[in-house]
């Protein structure tokens, strides 16, 4: 990438990704380039354009310690604004802006999008079940192992479904989180822990910066 092009990109992203300053944006762009050009990935057809699903998943795992595959895919979909299954440099910086530094409002919106698996604007009972199905220790004594999960979904609905329509609208979700911040990641971790926040800007030497 030429020096001038980089400069332009930094300028425009500096405006759209408002939680980062210019040097941070530049740092992230360099990180993006380094990660995308990683050896072994060069023959990928998206090389030089952006992350594909697997690369992004690996990055989330190694940089933020995320483990839940399904949620990582959802994070990928949320970052991928234009739905082309590839995260461009603009999507990367703008996505991270919310991911790392987002206001409560932005993070509520982001989490809701992550949890709304089919993108219909609601988190349904089934979607919750899907996301929570691994959250309990399996107890061999129980006849129906799903029973516990179903109950947990009921508990979550009872807590958050203010309009009693059996599913969570964005309004429901927002109200619940504003009421109790702990519910922001109610259905699984999709934001970095506090301790990760600064690490992105101290790239490991292997990143080649």
């Amino acid at each position: 990438m030429s020096r001038r092009k980089l400069q332009q990109l930094v300028e425009s992203l500096g405006r759209s990704a408002k939680h980062f300053n210019k040097s941070e944006v530049e740092c992230l762009i360099k990180l993006f380039n380094a990660l995308v050009k990683r050896p072994g990935q060069s023959n990928s057809r998206f090389a030089g354009v952006g992350f594909d699903r697997n690369m992004f998943r690996d990055t989330l795992h190694s940089a933020f310690g995320m483990t839940d595959v399904m949620l990582m895919d959802r994070v990928f979909r949320t970052f991928d604004r234009d739905n082309d299954s590839c995260i461009s440099v603009v999507e990367w910086v703008e996505g991270l802006s919310v991911f790392l530094r987002g206001t409560l409002e932005e993070r509520i919106k982001y989490c809701f999008e992550v949890y709304d698996l089919n993108g219909d604007g609601y988190i349904s009972r089934e979607e919750m079940f899907q996301m929570l199905k691994n959250s309990l220790l399996k107890q061999p004594s129980e006849e129906d192992p799903d029973e516990g999960i179903k109950d947990l979904v009921d508990i979550a609905l009872k807590k958050m479904d203010y309009d009693h329509d059996g599913k969570l609208s964005f309004m429901d979700f927002e109200k619940a989180v504003r009421d109790e911040n702990l519910l922001l990641e109610a259905f699984g971790p999709c934001l970095p822990d506090l301790k990760w926040q600064t690490m992105v800007f101290q790239p490991a030497p292997s990143a080649g910066l």
Partner: protein
């Protein structure tokens, strides 16, 4: 010796940092032991004695230069860094080794203990100076042993070796000191199961087969231990018995002993326990065995003295063992000290111990099942499920006792506390939010403490997450409402961390950024927790040591009531300690306390008023309150008669402030006296005590006495004389006495039979009440019409007051002498009290150093001389010679009273001779030159009488 010095020695309370050792027998013996130790060290351990201290011990010496020879002295020996080991400049000495220390004390001769005392006073923790700060004496746990072990492991250089030996020596000294001070206070100690158990375990470590052990065996008769730690059967526990032991010493038959709370004694044991006591009672098992088994004594000595010789070997297991033995026995001692001091110092009201209620299983409330269901997800869910369950649990009404107890009973409390110990911040926060709510309940508080929750929460205070810290501190604030919890917080370093929460820099700005708002919130939570903790005396001290005072002072300047309230609450709680009172004055907190008296939050007003109440014992503080304009708002607050706690605090503050005359004038301007009189009816006791105290002080200004009468206060005051509360009686008698100084008031008091009521209070068992009543009687007699008749009308009254001269209390004696002075003005009454033997009783008191008593005693003697042969009797009962010595006192009022008494006594020739023999003439000649005319006159009259006698004798001799 750090522990002994900080715990055992009795320091006078003074400002922060320095204090002086009181002159008590306990301290004296501590000093002597230390001196003896120093002398011994130089002879028996020359190598250690030459060790150069890390820093010199420095103090102001009283030794004259002659001891040293010159003005500035240095020793020839120098330390490694070239500094001399002994350096004296002007009156300061700096010493850097035991050697020099001991030399110096030897040269000091009889001033030895003076110097040692000065040295210890200037160096409160000498070990820090000697060995370095890492060996300092720490409250709670002593880490010096562990430091030492670390070092021993790491290196082998001879320096460490020496330090190791010195620290052992010092520890031995420490033990010795603690032991000897224990002897002093051991009368108060009662054995408890824990102490017995510790001792038995310790002895067991040294028992077994073989020549060197102290005992062959030592066994409990029963392996079963009741939950209270006793092994005796319940019906014997009722007699205070703790357990029974069978001890086999090497040299006698097996001993069957009983350990009871009263001590240790031999029972009539063998096969079946015979509970009958067969020997004296000893304070502990070791003391008992020392009496019974010579072999025990011998081997015990081997175990202890062997240590220092063994130390020349490389660090072996044995050495380490020795260290732990010392450490251990030291702990046991400490633990006893803790018991004593806690029980004596913690007089604050504590919440009642929870009573476990019997809950029937029949009709469990629906909440129970709901909570039980959620508990399942807490126990078996991953963090996501746990957070959902925690949030859902908060939808139950956690303020309701059913829910609180349900959480405990389904085993949720353990899980909640375990969650605190995880890395998951969200779970920790969720759990603390619940704990914070349910810890409003006493039973839950105790359960949390029992489950070790406090320790974990104290640890959380180190977390980087501010929300988490806030929640932990708030929960600690709730849990630490009882003594054991407060102690746990202190012993796990909680106080220091909580003080740390106050330490951020955003005080004072009125517009807060979100970041500053967090800091303020953190300080608020920290202050809340400190407030709860500050109800224990030791925590007050810990807060001070952790540097909490300046931080509290800083936050007191801010303007947010929600943080001011806990800060002021903590301060008023801590103001019971002199060090805090001094700090509150010197750190400029009075200004802010005064400012917040005008706050709109009643609770804050109350804490500020309470703080002033406690601090205004000092004159300077009273002046500061006036200078910062605090008297007017206090007067205004008297109008708020609904909030009784606030009223009690405000009247208390007014009472103490009114001790200064200038403040009384200010209160008069604010019409406080009228308001106070209005508060004399229908108020709870604590308000009454303070109100009446305040009125008593206000009477310093004569015009206020009139005001009280005009407002109709006299009858209410007299009525209060029939009360029973001792504190109230002390204040009421004082107030009535002060009012009686005015004739019109006296007429009312007399009409209401107030003097009789005062007189009957002389029978009160409390000496404070007695003294206060006797003082009040004086102005009554002075100002009553026909006082003599009135006094005679009290049947048995004169005998009663004369008999009070047998009291042991100086204040009572002084007040009774003052009353007798007034009674004796009436000749008939003087005759009656003479019959009751007032003269010998007064004479008996003559040998006193108390100037107040001297003055009133001299006045009483002078007035009693007016009847019959009393002058002669005073001479016969040897009152004259001591009186002459009173003239050497520094108090001019004593001189005047004494001169008058001597003048009266000198009418009798024999007294003149006694006086002359005691050198009265020279003393009186000086008094003749006084500016006080009464004194002049009395002194001159006395000399004239002596002179006349001399002339008469000469005339008789030579015709």
């Amino acid at each position: 010796m750090g522990a002994a010095l900080s715990r055992a020695a009795q320091w006078t309370a003074a400002g922060s940092g320095t204090g002086t050792l009181e002159t008590t027998s306990l301290n004296e013996s501590v000093l002597n032991e230390i001196i003896k130790f120093l002398e011994d060290v130089c002879t028996t351990h020359p190598q250690e004695a030459a060790f150069i201290f890390r820093e010199p011990l420095e103090w102001e010496t009283e030794l004259s230069c002659s001891v040293f020879g010159e003005e500035t002295v240095q020793s020839e020996a120098k330390g490694k860094d070239g500094q001399p080991v002994l350096l004296r400049t002007a009156s300061t000495v700096r010493v850097r080794s035991f050697d020099q220390l001991s030399h110096l004390l030897q040269n000091a001769m009889e001033k030895k203990s003076k110097e040692a005392q000065a040295c210890l006073e200037a160096n409160r923790d000498p070990i820090v100076k000697i060995l370095g700060p890492e060996y300092g004496t720490v409250e709670g746990e002593d880490l010096s042993m562990l430091h030492l072990l670390d070092k021993v492991k790491k290196d082998d250089d001879p320096e460490t070796e020496t330090i190791r030996r010195i620290i052992l020596l010092l520890h031995q000294l420490d033990l010795q000191l603690l032991n000897s001070s224990l002897k002093h206070i051991s009368q108060d100690i009662r054995l408890n199961p824990a102490a017995v158990n510790n001792e038995v375990n310790l002895l067991k470590n040294f028992s077994g087969k073989g020549e060197d052990t102290v005992l062959e065996s030592l066994e409990y008769t029963s392996d079963y231990m009741f939950s209270n730690g006793c092994r005796a059967p319940p019906w014997r526990q009722a007699h205070g018995e703790i357990c029974y032991l069978v001890i086999k010493p090497h040299d006698t038959d097996p001993l069957y002993i009983t350990c009871s709370t009263a001590g240790v004694f031999l029972n009539g044991g063998k096969d079946d326990i015979d509970y009958e006591r067969k020997s004296d009672v000893y304070k502990d098992i070791v003391t008992f065995l020392r009496e019974r088994s010579p072999k025990f004594v011998e081997n015990m000595a081997k175990q202890v003295s062997g240590q220092s010789q063994n130390l020349h070997e490389t660090p072996t297991e044995k050495n380490i063992l020795v260290i732990f033995i010392i450490e251990f026995s030291y702990r046991t001692l400490n633990c006893r000290f803790e018991d004593i001091s806690e029980s004596s110092s913690e007089t604050e009201e504590d919440e009642e111990q929870p009573i476990r209620r019997q809950e029937g299983n029949t009709d469990l409330p629906s909440e129970y099942w709901g909570i039980q269901k959620l508990a399942k997800y807490l126990k078996g869910g991953n963090p996501t499920a746990t957070v959902i369950a925690l949030c859902s649990m908060r939808d139950f009404n956690l303020a309701q006792e059913t829910c609180q107890l349900a959480i405990r009973d389904v085993g949720c409390l353990e899980v909640l506390i375990n969650l605190l110990d995880t890395e998951e911040i969200k779970c920790q926060i969720g759990s603390l939010k619940i704990l914070k709510e349910i810890s409003q309940n006493t039973l839950i508080r105790h359960a949390i403490a029992d489950l070790g929750g406090l320790e974990i929460m104290v640890k959380i205070l180190d977390s980087p997450d501010k929300d988490l810290k806030c929640l932990a501190a708030e929960t600690i604030a709730n849990v630490a409402r009882f003594k054991e919890a407060r102690r746990t917080v202190r012993q796990h370093g909680g106080i220091k961390r909580l003080v740390g929460l106050l330490g951020c820099n955003s005080v004072g700005s009125s517009s807060l950024t979100s970041y500053q708002a967090k800091d303020t919130e953190m300080a608020r939570c920290g202050a809340l927790a400190l407030w709860s903790c500050s109800k224990s005396t030791k925590n007050k001290e810990a807060i001070r040591k952790a540097g909490g005072i300046p931080l509290l002072a800083k936050w007191l300047k801010c303007s947010h009531a929600n943080i001011l309230t806990p800060v002021a609450g903590t301060l008023q709680e801590c103001a019971s300690e002199p060090s805090y009172r001094l700090a509150i004055r010197t750190e400029g907190m009075i200004e802010n306390l005064v400012k917040n008296l005008s706050s709109e939050h009643e609770e804050l007003q109350m804490h500020c008023a309470n703080a002033i109440f406690k601090c205004a014992e000092d004159k300077e503080t009273r002046d500061l309150v006036r200078q910062h304009g605090g008297l007017a708002p206090l007067s205004v607050l008297l109008g708020n008669s609904e909030n009784k706690q606030l009223l009690a605090a405000v009247t208390g503050a007014i009472w103490k402030c009114a001790i200064s005359r200038e403040n009384v004038s200010k209160f008069r301007e604010c019409k406080a006296v009228e308001a106070l009189v209005g508060l004399l009816t229908d108020q709870p006791e604590e308000v009454l005590v303070n109100t009446v105290g305040a009125l008593g002080e206000c009477c310093q200004e004569p015009i206020n006495r009139t005001t009280i009468r005009k407002c109709g206060g006299i009858p209410t005051l007299v009525k209060l004389l029939t009360g029973t509360d001792q504190a109230l009686l002390v204040n009421v008698t004082k107030a009535v006495g002060a009012c009686a100084a005015e004739r019109e008031n006296m007429t009312i008091i007399d009409r209401l039979d107030g003097v009789r009521l005062l007189w009957s209070l002389l029978k009160n068992p409390n000496p404070d009440v007695q003294a206060s009543a006797a003082w009040a009687i004086c102005p009554c007699i002075e100002n009553a019409k026909d006082a003599g008749e009135m006094v005679r009308s009290f049947v048995g009254g004169l005998e009663l007051i004369v008999n009070l001269l047998k009291s042991k209390n100086k204040e009572v004696l002084a007040s009774v002498c003052a009353a007798i002075t007034n009674i004796a003005k009436d000749e008939e009454n003087l005759a009656v009290i003479t019959d009751h033997g007032v003269v010998p009783l007064l004479s008996k008191l003559a040998n006193t150093n108390n100037d107040k008593l001297r003055r009133h005693l001299a006045e009483a003697i002078s007035n009693c001389c007016m009847w019959g042969s009393n002058r002669v009797t005073f001479g016969e009962t040897k009152a004259v010679a001591p009186l002459v010595r009173y003239l050497k006192s520094n108090d001019p009022s004593v001189h005047r009273a004494t001169a008058q008494a001597l003048y009266q006594l000198s009418e009798d020739p024999n007294n003149c001779i006694t006086m002359h023999e005691n050198g009265v003439v020279k003393l009186l000649l000086a008094m003749v030159g006084s500016t006080d005319e009464t004194l002049q006159e009395a002194a001159a009259g006395c000399i004239a009488n002596i002179r006349r006698l001399a002339l008469a004798t000469e005339k008789a001799k030579y015709g």
